[in-house]
Symmetry: C2
Subunit: 245 residues, 2 copies
């Protein structure tokens, strides 16, 4: 009941080249050869190969498959669990990248513009990441916390997500104007300031004390690049308060 390589390939759906590869890397070496060096696989080899296919199907790299099949002391839970964690991390990276890509405002942009947009987007991401790492959690008192919680419920999850996604988008645009050297008094920047103000208002519910706490905590811990943006848009917002000055 010995199988030649072509027959084994047909039975498993793999290619002959793949089987030779598995032999090369020591993953599945046929115990026997004919006098003319043709590989002869046993039924046991077939079973082993099916196990290999199973493990490959869950994305385990061949090296690890070899290890787990050849050293008996491996705990399935641990191996699978570890693998799941690896995949989850990978997935999260992919997801974040895709989200940033979708956020890009590509409509009608030329290549040079587009490249600028991408750079800004990365910068914003790095800034937000730094902010998260350093921790800019504002200190609200209990009453303020209750109030914010009520607002979350009132506004609804869907809108909250929308707002959270709108933030980096807006910051992209602000950063772009800033780096382009546009004056904070420019109508375009004023429009951005208006959107900025509205987003903040939507979060704070218009309460000045909460906005103040927010502002202060950010100012204290924020990375320098973010500070520059903060004061830039702050300039513009000041002008908003005196509409026809």
């Amino acid at each position: 009941m010995k199988l030649r390589i072509g027959e084994l390939a047909r039975r498993t759906g793999l290619t002959v080249r793949t089987l030779r590869h598995y032999d090369e890397i020591g993953l599945l070496t046929p115990g026997e050869r004919t006098d003319s060096e043709h590989r002869l696989y046993s039924e046991a080899d077939l079973r082993t190969l099916q196990q290999i296919q199973s493990l490959k199907a869950i994305g385990l790299p061949l090296g690890q498959i070899r290890t787990v099949l050849q050293t008996p002391g491996h705990d399935p839970q641990r191996v699978i669990g570890e693998h799941i964690r690896v995949l989850e991390e990978e997935l999260e990276r992919q997801r974040a990248l895709l989200e940033r890509l979708k956020r890009l405002d590509v409509r009608g942009a030329s290549w040079p513009d587009l490249l600028e947009v991408i750079r800004m987007s990365e910068k914003v991401d790095r800034m937000l990441e730094t902010a998260r790492r350093v921790g800019v959690e504002p200190k609200f008192d209990d009453e303020q916390k209750r109030y914010l919680e009520e607002r979350r419920v009132a506004v609804g999850e869907a809108r909250i997500k929308e707002v959270e996604e709108a933030w980096p988008r807006l910051m992209d645009e602000v950063l772009r104007e800033m780096e382009a050297g546009t004056s904070a008094m420019d109508p375009r920047v004023l429009e951005l300031a208006r959107r900025w103000r509205d987003l903040v208002a939507e979060f704070t519910g218009g309460r000045q004390d909460i906005g103040g706490a927010l502002n202060e905590s950010y100012q204290r811990n924020m990375p320098p690049e973010m500070q520059a943006m903060w004061s830039y848009i702050g300039e513009a917002m000041k002008v908003l308060d005196v509409p026809e000055a």
Copy 2:
């Protein structure tokens, strides 16, 4: 203002090796060399490199970056859009794989068991995939459709997702018992049949006519492997109806 390779590396955060690599593949070739063949990069090269970094940051492969930077006729929208689609597909594959992995009932399984579980899981996935492709959509009449829609609302999205995830899990187990040759009358299989019945009931709301239509459409179009499972669990469900026979 010519930069040597090390200086350029420092300014961009890339490694010297990377820059040499970009030269090798023709992505960024310095226009000049010293008499001793040392690379000399211009300011324009620096800018190009920054563009390369931008495009690399959104995950574009180097080959494509070269193409878009060297042939002027490329529309950003199309390139980015295409890239997004590629990433989405990739993400979906990863997500599906991870979901299947998490679905596996690994608790306390030995390696041989585990490999069986994985095989069943793949089989179920293939069956469901085939079913989707062939299209097993049952033909409900308008009244039945309205009824099902009402039930969806009544039951709630969260529970619906739970049920949808529970299905393949249950099928894994059924298939395993079946392939292990367990009798359909075995208590373990009866328990599975109970769960099966309950899941169906949760979908149909207990209405016999809907269950019948469902059953019939599946029986007609289902892949043969699935038919076997269907009649296997059907056997067990018959026994459920006569509790103390």
